[in-house]
Subunit: 188 residues, 3 copies
């Protein structure tokens, strides 16, 4: 059961200013830093309200929309070109990996009602899970611990712990583990 | 029935020059403007031949290949990072929304015949339809009024009015409206 | 049968330095060159170990991860925004076309074993094949001569020669040739 999509009130001037300031600071102080300067980028993100555990990696070309809506547990990683569009909170569990060009998208529109209201819902990635290159995770999705979304998977429903999912829309293909020993389920 | 793909003659020197000039002007005068400077970007696009209705939004990071092949009706929106590759005409209906990183691609190659000729066909988005984040609309596709292409949908055939489609390739999932009341069709 | 994924030893300091130098040289001498300056970009790539045939096209906005792992046969093309993430070798056959924003990705992780080791496998594109806009080719994949991966296709298994494949995951839709004459197989 995905988290429900909630309408989002339009941003006030303070919120707009905060986001503009954030974008400017990241562009000037982090965007073009060398990859190993991890501690510096963690510090800048924390200054803007992100909760970031020890050993977490954020690549300089990753794009965080709102650091005050980001929780990155220890040793989690956000890869090059990955986008965290966290209008609602995004929690990335310990040791989880979001690979290059993946996108975590917390916003949508209520297209079934007049008004086309902006709606949002939080995304949660469990401990040790992997969102592979170019995958997309939609609003309200929880990915269970150690689950895998394969490259370019489009995940719009919750994934239980330990599964391997792929495709658009993503389907569960097998359990993570020793691929050859799983009977009756096609290896991806 | 998609619009047929037609061979495109190779561009002449005047056409190449026009496109180079357009790219340069956009890069220098629009690409780094603040989002609310909508009227300015509309004016620059119109100067290059785009037909743009009142209230239309074009984000500074959107990429328009050829403004002389663009019709954007009133209140239509082209979001951040969206790409309009309009080698053939693209018409975006009133109030329609093309969200971030979506791509409207009017060109292909005739790969079934020797020569691999470049081919193109127009794209038409009906009034009030929504092409969500990262979706792709192929050459010759018409999307009916109020239809929805969900995030990352790959739409290569026409969509009738009012449907909700998703996946790669995109399939029709249900009618737009009150999702809970539609029986027998899985909600997306 | 895809090529097997092999564990990759972590890069040494010489390798890191070489990659940094390559990125810098491309950014300064090629990234912003005009499209027709093909010979210059070929020369720079060859200087870093790429094997490039006569008449090959590489667009200035294409991204080559490691030129020393690139073989581009005569008249092959790598389009704008395309990414060749060639941690393992990538061979692109004569006259093959990799269109805009496509991605050839030779790396993955062994997510079924503790350690989550980086793994890689070579990618081979046969003569005259076409990887269309925004398509993704995974590690170890061989695409047969003249085969087509349609726009946004996600190809994670080998494709035999002459087929047309599309979707995520990609499925074989028909044979390349005169589309109307193929019976019993839906045209894409």
């Amino acid at each position: 059961m995905n988290a429900p999509l909630m309408p989002l009130p339009p941003p006030g001037p303070a919120d707009r200013l905060r986001r503009r300031l954030w974008r400017l600071v990241w562009a000037l102080t982090c965007r073009f830093t060398p990859v190993p300067l991890l501690g510096w980028r963690r510090a800048v993100l924390r200054l803007f309200g992100a909760r970031i555990g020890a050993g977490a990696w954020i690549y300089p070309s990753a794009r965080i929309w709102a650091p005050w809506n980001l929780t990155l547990e220890r040793d989690a990683r956000i890869g090059p070109g990955a986008e965290v569009y966290n209008v609602a909170p995004v929690v990335i569990g310990a040791g989880a990996v979001v690979s290059q060009d993946a996108c975590l998208c917390t916003a949508s529109h209520d297209f079934d009602r007049p008004g086309f209201a902006l709606t949002t819902a939080a995304i949660t990635l469990g401990e040790g899970c992997w969102v592979a290159a170019g995958a997309f995770v939609g609003p309200g999705v929880s990915i269970g611990a150690r689950a895998v979304a394969l490259a370019r998977a489009v995940v719009v429903r919750d994934l239980p712990p330990g599964v391997v999912a792929g495709g658009n829309p993503a389907r569960i293909l097998r359990m993570r583990g020793r691929a050859r020993l799983v009977r009756g389920i096609a290896a991806e």
